[in-house]
């Protein structure tokens, strides 16, 4: 397998322009002769499907939800970054580029990140034109805030519902194309297999989640915008349905999987209450602008927080990182919370929590100001925990949130399978080893609105409209048969344990052994435990009902089956990457004061895994990362 990044020649800031000048175009009259499949209807999928339909292509779009509007992008709270420099505080495309590369701990491709920063400004224009109600100043102009460790105000937001508003903008553009007949929408459809004809992506096999029908859909190009795989940890901030199935099936068909171990643990989530817990709720990172994080200095201190005097509190982020304090990046803040709890300083019933305290801000700014900024978040917190955060500090704990790893793509966003494009969180992305706050929305929309419509067109210009198989093709029949056999196999086990049981157990292994901190021993342990549990899954799973009906247990079981396989690859990748970088913290690789220690001499590369077949160890390929425009520095937030 050869990993050719296909980055255009020339200086960094001219690469994307050069690409657009040089790329091949499809004749407008011919565009309707091409069909494109888009799987997923989140920010990347909806925006790509709408934009490509506007260009004239025929688009088939798929989502597992009952409506494309419910894709999990909708839950993003904080905001979206763009290098508009509306606040005259020195922001620029280069600065956004630099912050993103640095924030990702120098494990992303320079050219891709620069393109992302360039188109960030177009995204805001596009969304405003669609009627996205961004927050505004009294003068009628757009408001910005600083977010997630950035030292400029470049984050645009719509209250605490930025993801919702951006997604609805894309969804409405998509619905417009559906109304015009240019997009055919397939809701409640689960992608189960990728169809390759002579090594080229030509379609997908889906399961109709209402009737259970297995169907093939064919196209000239396939785009996956199916999000991340954080639910491999069972508990995460993702929606219950988020899954790895689409990208995993593509991996098993030959698409390289890059940096699977790069996962982001978000520092500010509501702590776990018990085994019944099904998901974790994120509290926007913006809370760290005014909240102070602390734990008691004395282990096992059970006094109510307000009874603990000031000098018996450890504001550990402010102590360890005086210049960034409570605004230290996500990976650093999460690890510091874990460390505090590991040392017995955790708070709450489970001891897995730290305080996020607003008392000082309320004293300084007044109750009203805090309510205006965070009212909806405080309400949500109170609804879930039954505690009033205006009076007693919030309790927070880190939770799995985002995955920087994903299918490997070149500059065109094309995977190692020709004709298979991957966008948004599903690709291995521009975020390197750690994503900055408010950058996920930016990347999803950049890929969907402004990158894929060009690069997919460039690919299609080299494909004849007649290069389109029929459903009678042997490869299509074989793919359908695989899907049916797999479903039958799952249903036939008739064991004793539910899909949720296995999912929860897998999550515990991953959280403990491949979570916020990893070491060789823990990863090897996980690589023993996972196959054992997977064997039990395939011999003792219990799914009620049949395949030809609406069967949520079957849907879940199929996803868990894929998570098992992915979990192993994540551990393998984490084991081989013998350095700490961003969200990947290898305990063997730290500085004397406990900070992540990169090893640029040996690991300044993307690791992309190639599937070798059932039971065989996948092959690890390397794409070296070359930094010509930024200096490889040690990330310091002290």
């Amino acid at each position: 397998m050869e990993l050719k990044s296909n980055i255009p020649e020339g200086p960094l800031e001219k690469k994307w322009e050069k690409y657009r000048n040089d790329m091949k175009l499809v004749n407008p009259a011919n565009k309707r002769k091409y069909k494109i499949i888009v799987v997923g209807s989140g920010l990347a999928g909806a925006s790509a499907a709408a934009s490509m339909a506007e260009l004239g292509y025929e688009v088939d779009c798929f989502c597992y939800q009952d409506s494309p509007r419910r894709a999990h992008s909708i839950a993003a709270q904080g905001g979206i970054n763009a290098a508009k420099n509306y606040h005259n505080d020195g922001d620029s495309v280069f600065r956004l580029f630099y912050d993103t590369v640095k924030g990702g701990d120098f494990r992303a491709r320079e050219a891709n990140v620069h393109r992302l920063a360039e188109v960030s400004v177009n995204i805001i224009d596009q969304c405003v034109a669609q009627g996205v109600p961004f927050a505004r100043e009294y003068g009628g102009l757009l408001d910005n805030r600083s977010f997630g460790g950035a030292q400029v105000s470049r984050t645009f937001y719509a209250r605490g519902q930025t993801g919702q508003q951006l997604l609805l903008g894309a969804y409405q553009a998509l619905e417009r194309q559906i109304g015009l007949g240019k997009v055919k929408m397939h809701s409640r459809h689960d992608m189960q297999e990728l169809i390759l004809v002579d090594g080229v992506a030509k379609g997908i096999v889906t399961r109709d989640m209402v009737t259970g029908a297995i169907e093939s859909h064919l196209a000239h190009a396939v785009c996956l915008a199916t999000g991340g795989y954080a639910p491999v940890f069972y508990l995460s901030t993702n929606a219950m349905g988020c899954n790895t199935t689409a990208i995993w099936r593509a991996y098993k068909k030959g698409a390289a999987f890059a940096n699977p171990c790069f996962t982001q643990i978000h520092p500010t989530c509501i702590p776990i209450t018990g085994d019944h817990q099904s998901k974790l709720t994120l509290m926007s990172e913006s809370l760290r602008n005014d909240g102070r994080i602390w734990v008691p200095k004395k282990p096992g201190d059970k006094r109510p927080p307000n009874d603990i005097p000031e000098d018996e509190r450890d504001y550990y982020l402010e102590r360890k990182y005086p210049s960034f304090g409570n605004l230290a990046p996500r990976d650093i803040a999460s690890r510091a919370a874990k460390e505090a709890c590991d040392n017995g300083l955790g708070v709450g019933e489970t001891g897995l929590g730290v305080y996020l305290d607003f008392a000082d801000s309320i004293k300084r700014l007044g109750m009203h100001a805090i309510e205006e900024k965070y009212g909806n978040l405080f309400e949500m917190y109170e609804r879930i925990t039954d505690e009033n955060p205006y009076k007693t500090p919030m309790r927070i704990y880190p939770a799995a949130h985002y995955t920087m790893g994903g299918l490997w793509v070149d500059y065109n966003l094309m995977s190692t399978i020709p004709g298979l494009f991957v966008m948004g969180e599903a690709n291995f992305s521009d975020h390197g080893a750690n994503r900055l706050g408010a950058s996920a929305l930016m990347q999803g929309l950049a890929d969907g609105y402004f990158v894929a419509p060009y690069t997919v067109g460039n690919y299609l210009a080299g494909v004849k409209p007649s290069e389109h198989p029929t459903t009678a093709h042997a490869a299509v029949q074989a793919a359908e048969a695989t899907v049916k056999a797999r479903i039958e196999k799952l249903l036939a086990i008739k064991g004793k344990r539910t899909p949720t049981h296995f999912h929860r157990e897998l999550g515990k292994i991953m959280w403990e052994h491949c979570g916020m901190a990893r070491n060789e021993e823990s990863l090897k342990k996980a690589l023993e435990l996972i196959p054992k549990l997977r064997e039990e899954f395939w011999s003792d799973l219990l799914i009620p009902g049949a395949g030809d009906e609406l069967n949520q247990s079957l849907e879940h079981a199929a996803r868990v089956g894929d998570f098992f396989e992915l979990a192993e690859l994540m551990c393998l990748d984490a084991l081989e990457r013998r350095e700490s970088c961003g969200g990947h913290f290898r305990e063997e690789s730290q500085t004397p004061d406990g900070e992540a220690q990169r090893d640029d001499a040996n690991f300044c590369h993307v690791a992309a895994w190639e599937y070798q077949g059932e039971g065989k160890t996948p092959v690890r390929h390397i794409e070296p990362l070359v930094f010509e425009n930024v200096h490889l520095a040690t990330r310091s937030y002290k």
Partner: protein, 263 residues
């Protein structure tokens, strides 16, 4: 509000195999439910038990479980999303119930939302209403600089209030006429309040209302149940705003002229 840590409950749940079959209520015991659980986590626990016993679990729509995706949709004790104001079923916690309670759980009831299984209904009618006109036509790449069009903070805030709709359909489920006026008016209002929405303002309201009627939602007779049931507190003021625009659209409607092509 319960002060107990664990509750023993009885559930009366609507069970229906598929759209064609007839449904009915079944009763289940739910013992030892922690007050820390969300309502959906309580159903998870009941379902795990059902599966282990070899029975079909209760099918229900859910996804984000943080009150924003709009997937969860069930009538709890006669109220869409249950007893707590401005709270979706997924954000409702069991501490809102008492030990020994019997809880009735049903799907949304509306002709335009046919049941697919148990508590799951088909809400594609909402998507078709948006496809009929719930957008601003702004093809990718055609936009001008975002700050070239100032929007008063007041209008931006009102537009945001309307845009907060999560499309769950509780308004329809709560309405004695199963009207979709709150849902439709929220989108009409949001876009009519913004300068970007002006060129299509009247054609939008006309097309969306026509689609709403075609989907067989009922008419609005000002009960206000929709606002009371809405987990996002969308105001019926939006309906008034839509009615004004609809009236104006009806009075000023002219069929489009069909012109010849250029050149």
């Amino acid at each position: 509000m319960s002060s107990e840590k664990n509750l023993n409950l009885k559930l009366n749940v609507w069970r229906q195999k598929n759209a064609q079959s007839e449904g009915g209520f079944e009763t289940y015991e739910a013992p030892g439910i922690s007050t820390e659980m969300s309502f959906l986590e309580m159903l998870d626990v009941v379902n795990e038990d059902l599966i282990t016993k070899g029975a079909d679990p209760i099918a229900f729509d859910h996804d984000c479980r943080e009150g924003i995706c709009g997937a969860c949709s069930m009538v709890i004790d006669g109220r869409p999303h249950g007893p707590k104001e401005r709270t979706t079923a997924c954000q409702l916690h069991m501490r809102s119930f008492n030990d020994g309670d019997t809880i009735a759980i049903e799907p949304w009831r509306a002709a335009a939302f046919p049941v697919q299984r148990d508590l799951i209904v088909d809400r594609a009618a909402f998507d078709r209403i948006i496809a009929a006109g719930g957008f601003i036509s702004a093809p990718t790449g055609s936009a001008q600089d975002a700050n070239s069009l100032p929007v008063s903070k007041q209008n931006a805030d009102l537009a945001m209030d309307a845009a907060a709709c999560i499309g769950c359909g509780a308004c329809v489920a709560a309405c004695p006429n199963a009207s979709a006026m709150l849902f439709v008016s929220a989108k009409v209002s949001q876009l009519a309040l913004l300068p970007q929405g002006q060129p299509e303002r009247y054609i939008r309201v006309r097309d969306m209302v026509a689609q709403m009627d075609a989907e067989e939602f009922g008419t609005c007779t000002n009960h206000g149940e929709c606002e009371a049931a809405c987990p996002k507190g969308i105001s019926v003021e939006n309906i008034a705003r839509m009615n004004r625009d609809y009236l104006k659209a009806s009075l000023t409607y002219r069929p489009e002229a069909t012109g010849g092509g250029a050149g």
